[in-house]
Subunit: 514 residues, 2 copies
Amino acid sequence: MSPGDASRPGRRRPAPAVVAPPPRSDRYRVLSHPFEPLRVFSADRVEALHAAALGLLEDQGIKVLSPAALRRLRAAGATVDAAASMVRIDRGLVDASLATAPRRITLNARNAARHVPLDAASLSFGPVSGPPNVMDLEGGRRPGSLADYANGVRLCQSFDVMHVLGAFTEPQDVPVQVRQLEMLHAQLTLSDKIPHTFCRGSAQVADCFEQVRIACGLTAEQFRVTPCTYTIINSNSPRVLDGPMADGIVDFALAGQVQMITPFTLAGAMAPVTIAGALTLAHAEVLAGLVLAQVTRAGAPVVYGSFTSNVDMKSGSPAFGTPEYVKAQLGAGQLARHVGLPWRSSNATASNTPDAQSAYESQMSLWGALLGGANFVLHAAGWLESGLSASYEKFILDVEQLQMLAEVLQPVGAEDDDLALAAVEEAGPGGHFFGTRHTMERYRDAFYAPLVSDWRNFGAWSNDGARTATQRAATLWRGTLDAFAPPPLEPARAEELEAFRRRRIEAGGAAPAG
Amino acid sequence: MSPGDASRPGRRRPAPAVVAPPPRSDRYRVLSHPFEPLRVFSADRVEALHAAALGLLEDQGIKVLSPAALRRLRAAGATVDAAASMVRIDRGLVDASLATAPRRITLNARNAARHVPLDAASLSFGPVSGPPNVMDLEGGRRPGSLADYANGVRLCQSFDVMHVLGAFTEPQDVPVQVRQLEMLHAQLTLSDKIPHTFCRGSAQVADCFEQVRIACGLTAEQFRVTPCTYTIINSNSPRVLDGPMADGIVDFALAGQVQMITPFTLAGAMAPVTIAGALTLAHAEVLAGLVLAQVTRAGAPVVYGSFTSNVDMKSGSPAFGTPEYVKAQLGAGQLARHVGLPWRSSNATASNTPDAQSAYESQMSLWGALLGGANFVLHAAGWLESGLSASYEKFILDVEQLQMLAEVLQPVGAEDDDLALAAVEEAGPGGHFFGTRHTMERYRDAFYAPLVSDWRNFGAWSNDGARTATQRAATLWRGTLDAFAPPPLEPARAEELEAFRRRRIEAGGAAPAG
C-alpha cells in the first residue's frame, strides 16, 4: 500500500479481493491509433524538407549498385551515369511513383486471423530482426543458432501483441547458402504469422517466396497479388543503394510483396548532424527506393521506413532511444504522412544488458513511435546492444511494455454508468469499493494484468527471492517455450514445404549476393 | 556500431570523433510544453464528468474533519451538517471559487534564477516526497534519517531538471515535534530552490512558514503575497478531508502559499473501478478543497493535483505506471484544463528495486504526465516501492530520464541550413559526416550527453566491469554528494534561520496534528 503523498500516519490498507483476471490477449491482434500524432515541424517546414529531398535527388542523385536497377530507372526517365552508377531523379518521376504506391496494404498471413493492416491508422509490431548474437541470463552472449532463431519464432507466435515475425537472430550454425531455407521453414512451420524475408540476392529471395507461397496455399498468380511476406531495404547512407538492396527492391516489387525502405541514418556519422538534415537525406533515399519499386511495377507495396538516430560525439558509438531519436521519429512520421505512405519505426537501445537503461531507452523509442504515428514498429521486442544481440529476457520485458502501450490505445469508457455516482454513494465517505456492485460487475477485466511486473509489497517480493524484472523474465521465456505448441498447418502444405526445403538444400541452396 | 537492419555483411563503422560535449544543464531550468495534450475524453464527456462531480458535491457531499474549516464553509454558503461533519456544496459556490483561483502562479525561490512558474504551458519537476524508507545498493533498505533527507536536498540542488525540493524521505531519527524544523532548515541552507512543507497541524506549518520567510528575506506582509513554498493536500478518498489536511488548506490559503490538492484515488479500492468514475470522484474532492481555499482567501494559489491509479485485483496491491494510470493522467489533465487550474501529476512505480520494471513504469508515468500536459510532476525522481522507499540509484536514473524528456521538448531546427544539402554533397555517396563543416560547427551541442546511459560497445563495457545502469547510478549519486557545495546564503539570514531553529527546538517544537 502506498502512502498518500502528503505522508501522514493512519492510512487505510485496502483488503485483497482475491480474484484472477482472465487473459485479455485477443485485443492486441489489431491495434489502431486513437491519438493525433505529435509534430516537431510546421507544415511549411515539412514541405521544405520534402522539397529539399526532391532537389537532392535531382541535383546530387543517388548511387545504385545494380545494373538491372539502373536499366529500369533509365527506362523510366531517370538520368543515369552508368559508369559512376549515379542516378538523378526528377520530381515528376517521384510524384508519379507516389501516385501509384498504395496507401493501404494488407499483409496476409496463412491464418486469416493473423492478417496485418499497414495504413495510416494501424499499428503493428515485429520482433528484433538480424542480430548476429543472442543473450540470456544463464547462457550469456553467444553467436545466434538455428535453435535460437526457432525460439524467436516460437516466442513471437506466443504473444498476440507481436504481429509479424522477424529474424530474431542470424543462425550462424547454418551455412549461408541454405540459411534462408531454414529460416523460412522455421517461420512457416512454427508460426501462422507473417514471415520475414532477407534480401540477399534474387536466387535466395526466389526460394523464400516459393516457401511462403506453398505455406499460404497460393498459386503463383495469387501470390503475386497477395502480400504475405515483407523485407527491410536499408539504403547505405549517404546516397547509396547497394546491389542486394536494389535487386531486392525489384524482386519484391515484381512479386507484389511488402518492402520497407529504411535508410539507417545516424546523425553526425552517415547523415548530417542535424535532425532535419538527417531526415532530409533519409527522405530522399526512401523516395529513390520507392521510385525504383514503382517503375518496376506500379502499385508495388512500399512502406516508408525510418531509422534516424545520433552517435555519441565523444566515441562515434551509435545511440538509440535518445531525445534526438524521439524527435527524429516524430519528424519522420510527418514526412511519411506527407507522402501518404504507411510508416515503419523501431524500438532500439544501446544498452549492453537488459537493465534499467535498456528499459528507458526502449520506452523512449516506443513512445516516439506511438506518438509519431508509426504504423509498424520493427525490433519491437528483444533488441539489445545496438542491434548486435537479441536478448531473450529483453524480449519478454518488451512484450510487457508493448501490451501496456496497446492498453493505452483502448478507449476509456465515460458513459454515465462509468462515472459511478451510485457506487460512490454506496461506498460512503471513507469507505472502499471492493464490494460495490459497480466493482463486482467490472473487476474481471477492468485493468491490465501484467506479464512480468511484480506489484507485491517489499516483504512478499523479498521472501520470494527479491528477483528483478529481468530475472523474472528469464523464467517467463523458458516457460513460454516449454508450453509452446505450433499452430496447425495443413498436412499437404507441410509435406510440400518439407520436400521443397530438402530438395533445395540437396541442390546446395543459393549463395548470398553482395 | 549497429547493423543496418537488413542485416548484411560489409557495414561501415564510423570513426570516433573524440570530442567532449559541454554540459547543457541550464536549458532545463524552465521547461514548457511544445505539444498539444492528448485526450481520452471528448469535450462533452469532460463536461459530463465535471457536471457529475458538481452533482456529487451537491447531493452526497464530503466529510470535513475540521471544525474551523466547517465554520468557514458554512459562512460561505455551504450546507453543513456539523454532527456528521458533512458538507454539501452547490455549483454556484464552486463556480465562484473557480473564478477567484489564479490561473498562473509563480513559486518564488530565494534565488530568483530558481523561480518556478505553474501555469497551463509550464512543466516542472519535484523529487519523491514522503517515503518512510530509503534504499541504496550498498546500504539496502532502511528507515530514512535526517542525513538521508539532507542528501535528498543536495541531490535535488545538484540537477537543474529538479525544479523544486521535496521530502526525499521521512527523517525518522528526529522526534516528530522538531522534525519539520530540521527538514525546513536543511532545505533552506543546502538549496536555493523552492522548499516543500508538510501539513501536520497549524503549529508546525507556522514554524515552516517562518523559516521560509526568513530564508527568502521577506517581511510577513511580503510573504503573504509571495508564494515561496508548497504543500500537498491529500484528500482521504472517498469523500473525506481530514483535520490536518483541511486545516492545511486554510493555513496555506491564509499565507498565500501554494497547495496542490491531490486526491489519491486507487480505482477498485478507494475509488470506483472505472477510470472515469475514479476521476469524477477525484475531481469532486479537488473542487471541495479548492472551495475551502477560496472561501478562506479569494485568490489563494491552488494546483489541481491528481494521483489516480489502479490496484491489482488479485491482491489489492496498488499499481503505478500502468496503462490505466496513463489514461487517468490524460483524463485528469483534461479536467484540470477544463477548470483552468495548473495540473500536478506524478512519476510512480510499484517496483521494489531500481530494475527494468521501475524504469518502464516510470517512463509510462512520465510520458503520461508529459502528454497529459502536466505543469508539475511530483515524485519525478527517486520514487520506488509504491512510494514506501526513496532510492538513491533510482533518483539518478530518473534524473537521466527527466533530462531526456526535457530535451524532447526543445524545438527541432528546420531552417534551410539545418537541411544540410551542402553537407550531403560534401560527404558524397557512401561518405561520412564527421569532418564536414556542417558537423564541425554543430557537434558540440547537437546531441544530449547522457548522465548514466552507457553507449560503449559490448567489449568496452564488459572490460570496464559490465555494470548495469543501476550500478553506474550508485557511483553517480555518491560522486554528486562528494562534489556538493551549498549555494550561498546571506550570513544574516543564515544566522536568523539557525537562531529560529535553535529557539524552537529548545521550546520543544510542535507536535504533529492528526
